[in-house]
Amino acid sequence: MADDKVLQAIDEPPVMESEICVTDELVEVYIMGKPYTVPASLTIMKAMEYVGYKLVRGVGCREGFCGACGTVFRRRGDYKLYSGLACQTLVEDGMYLTQIPSFPAEKAVYDIRELEPTANTILSYYPELARCVSCNSCTKVCPQEIDVMDYVNEALRGDIERAAHTSFDCIMCGLCTVRCHAEMPQYLIGILARRLYAAHIAARAQDLESRVQQILDGEFDKELADIKKLSEEELKDLYKKRDIEPT
């Protein structure tokens, strides 16, 4: 099925056909400029593997959560740039495909506990934040449909809480950064806002703190020591009889 001549040098066999739900319908796609005929039922990621690419970067959970496989594509006869997660987006006839396994961005290193939740804190790590011209390219490319330009502006004016909420669904794929006219790493700014929010603004979970204190005070030491002495059967029995929260 795959064109042997264009296969990358690989040590492992490609994905077996039996693993893929192959339909009769075939579409033509272009992967890095070269045409291939692939089943229409494949995702972009599976189509690339189907024709022989071995993906070792730019691939992760294959379930649309990890953000490793953010990708851009175009459609024949359409100037617009589209984006998606390669593991979630089905191929279409006339798609121009590539993969963006990684895109350079400098990640700031900080101790979140020592920071103040202000615009100036974010600007001190990412001064390029102030270069946003509101072109909205980041929002247009976001496969999670996040209002990226909005959270960038919320961060810029110090509304950390709102920036944290607006950016909440970010999976750190980095496509916004690829497209940014101001050359900023939006997704790193977003996670800094969410960390600042969590560490300094969100209400503390008092139950958690009191339970941690109970543990530190040794309140459960005896119970734990007793459990450690039990046999496997006794443990199973204890597990079955445990307190379960009412549904």
Binding site: A119, V133, L156, R157, H181
Partner: protein
Amino acid sequence: METIPYFPGCTCKADALPFEVSAKAVMRELDIEMREWERWTCCGTVYSMTTDDLIHQLGPARNLIRVQEEGSDRVVTICSMCYSTLKLSAMMFDADEEKLQKLNDFLYDEVDYEGGIRVMHILELLRDDVGFEAVKERVVRPLEGLRVAPYYGCTLVRPTEAGIDDREEPRVMHDLLEALGAEVVDSPFKVECCGSYETVDRPEMVAEKCHRILSDAIKRGADLVVTSCPLCEFNLDDRQDVISSIAPRFPGIPVLYFTSLMAIAFDLPEEEWGLESATVDPLPVLQEKVLAPKDEGGG
């Protein structure tokens, strides 16, 4: 109560938040609600003078589209820099249909901008809509005996076509202060540049310029200086420590937003005065000249 779309700008949500607090409070007292809309973005900060640099007009244009969506044909700002950027951008799109077309082609993610939004600074709103007579009527604690030097800086009055007043001899803050009962101290440095963004890289140069502006006000007997721009406020106020390092005998002078004096003259609650952004403490002089009961002990 009349409502007008209000564009805050980033600085008025961060370091200059007290400016917004006092501005909203005094306008409320004058029956105008300044209503911030949901999704505003940075004004663009500095108007791009390069004629083919449309990318830097996207920020201001997007905000003008938001005003259009609010169903209003005007918007008010309190920051002089935001005012200037939005105003010049609005004027450019009103005057140049080709640029407007190009803008709308690029912004396919927005409804078309139709033009015709009037960008106003709060001082214009006070002068032209409210009127200084009405301001005067609302005053319950006249600022009698307080000597105030208004400082306009650049972006309120320049360039001429976007200025809210005469670019060399502006009156608007003078007249407002008189309506509040203050004694206005006029200074030829009232429209001198404070140094603007040079404050980031060259604080000494900014301090030198601010030294000249503030020293003249002090020499003319001013108790304090008022301004309408967060960047001017920062340079004139926060940079006084740099001034002191280059001019050890510089006595220092408080710098406030004009809205703080309005809030005090209106006798609003202290939390609406918006004095928190002042680095040089204005309370001693305010205490002495305005806040202390006038009828007691004076004989």
